[in-house]
Amino acid sequence: MTLAAHDIRWSAARKMIVDGVTLRAEPGRILGLIGPNGSGKSSLLRLLCRLRKVESGVVTLDDRDLATMARRDLARRLAFVEQQASTEVQLSVCDVVKLGRTPHRGALASWTDADEAAVEAALERVDMSERHDQLWHTLSGGERQRVHIARALAQEPRELILDEPTNHLDIQHQLSILALLRRLGVTCILALHDLNLASLFCDEIAVMHEGRVVASGTPSEVLTEDLISRVFGVAVSIRAGASGRRHIEYLIDPSDEGIAR
């Protein structure tokens, strides 16, 4: 059992942003959220980790209502990686990852062997051990995202929620971040923009459109030409790619100026 949403709703400025979403993550698997800009992906992720309060419906973790859990207990179980979180504080890579131990430490607790081991293991898993002492603001975008994931792993979570972890990264780093998430074996729920990457790396996909989940299932069930044209408003041709997964090709009207040239 893991994280699930049951008919949850949330609005901002009198507009329904998340409108009756029911969703269930599977243990140890990757659930991808796709959908156009403004479809409610980020808001849904924030509701799933209780950074926003649901207005109706419930989010459950192992069948317990998330709203009844202590925030600290929640943070030891579930970690969240924001899109492009940055800081002006002069922190080293290790300082950032150490923040992940916050929910495991009391106000006056000193740093323990277990804390140190968790931080080192987390850095190892994202392949950033050699950057231990480097300053955070000297890292590249892809490295920063790895350090954020290491910080999340130092929380020792069973569920990991990531908001567009590949945003603004070049393709090599996008692939390496997603491959990393697959290797972790932690239950992941993540928002993604790139449909082909979603097809390649996700075990399940949920498609969001105007605050609702309009389709969910395995990539081959969900990613159909009809659904993509309906939700994203683009024409595509879908075939089996070299990996055996679905590959989406965008069809563009050749008479369109700029393409023809």
Binding site: R46, R71, F80, V89, L99, T102
Partner: protein, 345 residues
Amino acid sequence: MSHAPIAPNWPARIAIALAALLALVTAIALAVTIGEMKIPLSTAFQALGNGVFNLGYPVSAIQQGVIFDYRLSRALLAALCGGTLALSGAILQALLRNPLAEPYILGISAGASTGAVAVMILGFGGTVLTLSGGAFLGAIAALAVVALLATGAGGSSDRVILAGVAGSQLFNAATATIVTTLANAEQARGVMFWLLGNFGGVRWPDVWVATPVALICFGICMLHAKVLDAFAFGADAAASLGVAVARVKIVLFATTAVMTATMVSIVGTVGFVGLVIPHAARFLVGPAHARLLPTCLVIGAIFMILADILSRILVPQQILPIGVVTALFGAPAFALILYRARRAT
């Protein structure tokens, strides 16, 4: 996996604490001996012995009075004031994620002085406690106004500073209105002098109020040191690390309001200490709050004692308002921080 704590380096910690204490005592000793009446250090210690333990050293009554009743209480209060203002600055900078945040710029000091002036001029006794109480209510009102303005304007980090500037203006205007419409000439002159920051009127009862306030507030801040670290990537990041963001903000904003209000009610508004000292402290010991907060307390204390000495000797036969001296150092530092913040983005 074992949960053995990794032993902190106690000898080094004790050495640093002793060095800080020594620096603080030296600054206080300087403050006690330097002034219009130059007093040798040995006499100062004898006067201290007389005052605290009734040792009966032969110190003239005038020197005894100047040292014990006037300069020592003044130096201790300067230390408490500088320490708590620096502490408030460090807390506000961490919570608001803005390097320019501090009680003076955010209008908390202005609100506190409005509250204190209202008590002074409208009556209600005018003792240290009622003044502090009025200042506290003013500080909370200013915080509320600035918070409302900032969230209404979008809540981003620079909007908070703009809201603070607007809040300061509003509360300074309120203070000026109270003074001009309700105070007599003598009261008005007293208030204006006090507003610029002045340790001249400090006596022991002020120290007895400020000391417990400073110690308790420092304790509360230290209990939140790790939580403040978790704000490095913003409130949402802190919340996802298990921090009860709303509760922590209320407790720490109230704590800074109490510290600022207490100091403003005793010495008036003193700017820039809360801004400059946390940056200097971060430069020395890094951003981790468990080290940063005590460092701010000590450096702030020493800075304010030295600033007070300067205010007494810079112009012969005259005492400059303390706010003038701190602004003399603070304004260039403020410009430097602005310049660096612009380069970083």
